[in-house]
């Protein structure tokens, strides 16, 4: 590649990076402005003065307990992620390594549901959650989503890519299936488990449609559901709204920086969207 073309490529790369990053930087800068500062026309880039006005408003807020929403979201996403890992890995072990009646049919059924838009199940799932008495509890944002077929499909593919020799050796040494699963296969599968765990956490942390309809009490909301309320309550008080958005972004951005490899690998191996 010629020097000119290389320079051109970098110019384009940087210009695009600005397109993707500027809105996020603007969100952060606005969250550090005062109300008056954010209303100025034309707006200035840097806060003058740097202010904790927006964050103060969301920390001390009885009508919109934003920190409570943050804790709810953390708990829900962590527990959801663990539930997916536990149930999907066990099912994937059976589907990848054990022979039993109905295995092919079962797997086909599970994979088949990957192609049913989850939005089309919202109404019946709402009624089922209602019957179970789960509405307006954290359970309703943790459990039903864990029925997703993606985790099972993803881990089964990974397990099949691991040679079975080690497991056979363990079986010859007298290990039962549970021991083979927990002591041999799972330790070998750490990268895949990390990928699935992180993706499940992200999906649950960001979920919006389901929580806004199944959670009602202000103190029970998850953060994304609460942000909708915040927008209604603060209208054009953008430092407050952006402070809420920053609070919802920071954990996932940190997770992305730390687990970038796992996230990118998970996405490139099997699309998961919607």
């Amino acid at each position: 590649m010629t020097a000119l073309r290389r320079t051109g490529r970098y110019a384009l790369l940087v210009a695009l990076a600005l397109v993707f990053l500027t809105p996020l930087v603007w969100m952060l800068l606005t969250s550090l402005k005062t109300y008056g500062d954010a209303q100025k026309i034309p707006p200035s880039w840097l806060p003058n003065p740097f202010s904790t006005y927006g964050f103060d408003k969301i920390v001390h807020n009885d009508a919109n307990p934003v920190l409570r929403w943050f804790v709810n979201s953390m708990l829900a996403a962590a527990l959801h992620s663990l539930l997916v890992l536990a149930t999907a890995s066990m099912a994937a072990y059976a589907l990848a390594r054990l022979r039993f009646r109905g295995r092919s049919l079962g797997f086909a059924l599970i994979v088949g549901t990957l192609f049913i838009p989850p939005t089309s199940l919202i109404i019946p799932n709402f009624v089922i959650a209602d019957r179970l008495g789960w509405l307006d509890t954290l359970t309703v944002v943790i459990v039903p989503g864990a029925a997703s077929a993606f985790g099972v499909f993803f881990l089964r593919q990974f397990f099949l890519s691991i040679p079975a020799e080690l497991e056979e050796a363990a079986v010859l040494d007298g290990a039962n299936h549970w021991q083979v699963f927990t002591r041999v296969l799972l330790p070998l599968s750490k990268p895949a488990l990390a990928t699935l765990g992180v993706l499940s956490f992200l999906t649950n942390w960001n979920d919006f449609l389901w929580p806004i309809y199944v959670l009602f009490s202000p103190e029970r909301l998850t953060l994304p559901a609460g942000l909708g309320l915040l927008q209604g309550a603060y209208n054009t008080d953008y430092p407050v709204i952006m402070a809420g958005a920053v609070l919802a972004s920071v954990p996932v951005l940190i997770l992305f920086v730390l687990a970038q490899r796992h996230i990118i690998q998970g996405v490139s191996r099997s699309g998961l969207k919607g």
């Binding site: 996020l24 026309i41 034309p42 939005t119 089309s120 039903p144 942000l227 927008q231 996932v252 992305f256």
Partner: protein, 322 residues
């Protein structure tokens, strides 16, 4: 069978595991009793049946009943819920078809961009150069944020008076008073544009994996034959990406047809109800207006329509290959 095809398309990409069956046959159940596999499956199956299979069956059941969430009587009404959606005299007709129209507009304009723009990003990021991982991460970053965050953020950026977008347009001498979120066609430009900004990095990562699967020798051979850059793209890259393109196209159509959060938060349905989408209509009908029966009928029509689109999609691509 579209299901098998998507799996095939997905598995054809990098890190594809060896074909099923080989390893499974070796690790048979020599130890443990016949119940073991079912015990391993039980926890997931409980979830899968409760929130994956039951809602499908129950949804069909709801759709043939007049099922008001607040009323004790839920009489069987046959296909009335479906018929109402096709009967121009019914109360739900206008809202339903307005939502279908909104979803169709969004899908038709967003899908081509979400297929092409990420391909450009992937080509730009392909190959080894310093900073590649950094730029890939930057382009992907918006996708890790939820729709609530990007919705609030872009509602602000697109605000006609205080928003950064109009300010920046004004700074370069363009009109600075475009009503991005309150009038058409601007509302559509906003919803499509924000979605492209938000999810392009995701599709780009899928394309990148596909690009890395194309053997370098093919490019060498094309070069030896005197093919220029465009010809190499046309004759090597595109054919090599075919399964990935099909995968991206299908998943993107499904994702776009399911649009909800952007419209809910950024345009808030405006102007009027013009940007209220199908998913929004379904949850409003079922969970706000309590008519779960009609909402279930809508859900089923919606799922069927998407299934048909996916199948057509596969057929078209198949035949063009032959």
């Amino acid at each position: 069978m579209p299901v098998a095809d998507v799996i095939e398309a997905g598995a054809a990409r990098r890190d594809a595991p060896p074909p099923a069956g080989r390893t499974t046959r070796r690790g048979g159940t020599r130890r443990g009793n016949a119940a073991t596999p079912y015990l391993f499956l039980a926890p997931y199956l409980l979830l899968f049946i409760g929130f994956g299979v039951l809602p499908i069956v129950f949804g069909l059941w709801l759709s043939v009943h007049q099922w008001d969430l607040q009323l004790p009587n839920r009489p069987f009404v046959g296909l009335d819920n479906y018929q109402a959606l096709f009967d121009s005299q019914s109360a739900d007709y206008a809202d339903w078809w307005s939502a279908v129209r909104a979803t169709a507009i969004f899908t038709v304009f967003s899908v081509p961009l979400l297929v092409v723009v990420p391909l450009g990003l992937a080509l730009l990021l392909n190959g080894a150069f310093p900073g590649r991982t950094f730029f890939r991460a930057v382009y992907f970053a918006p996708y890790v944020l939820g729709v609530a965050v990007i919705g609030l953020l872009w509602r602000f950026l697109l605000d006609a008076n205080l928003g950064l977008v109009n300010r920046m347009l004004g700074a370069v001498g363009l009109p600075a008073d475009t009503p991005w979120v309150t009038d058409v066609p601007w509302a559509w430009v906003s919803l499509v544009g924000v979605t492209v900004w938000w999810t392009s990095g995701f599709n780009a990562v899928i394309y990148l994996a596909g690009l890395q699967d194309i053997p370098a020798e093919l490019y060498e051979a094309a070069r030896v034959d005197g093919a220029n850059g465009w010809e190499r793209f046309r004759n090597v890259t595109l054919p090599g990406l075919r399964p990935v393109l099909l995968f991206v196209l299908t998943t993107t159509i499904l994702a776009s047809a399911n649009v909800f959060g952007q419209a809910f938060l950024i345009t808030q349905g405006a102007p009027g109800q013009q940007t209220r989408t199908v998913v929004w209509r379904i949850v409003d009908e079922g969970l706000r207006d309590n008519d779960a029966g009609k909402a279930a009928a809508m859900s089923i029509l919606f799922a069927l329509a998407l299934a048909v689109i996916s199948v057509v999609n596969f057929r078209l691509f198949r035949y063009r290959e032959d």
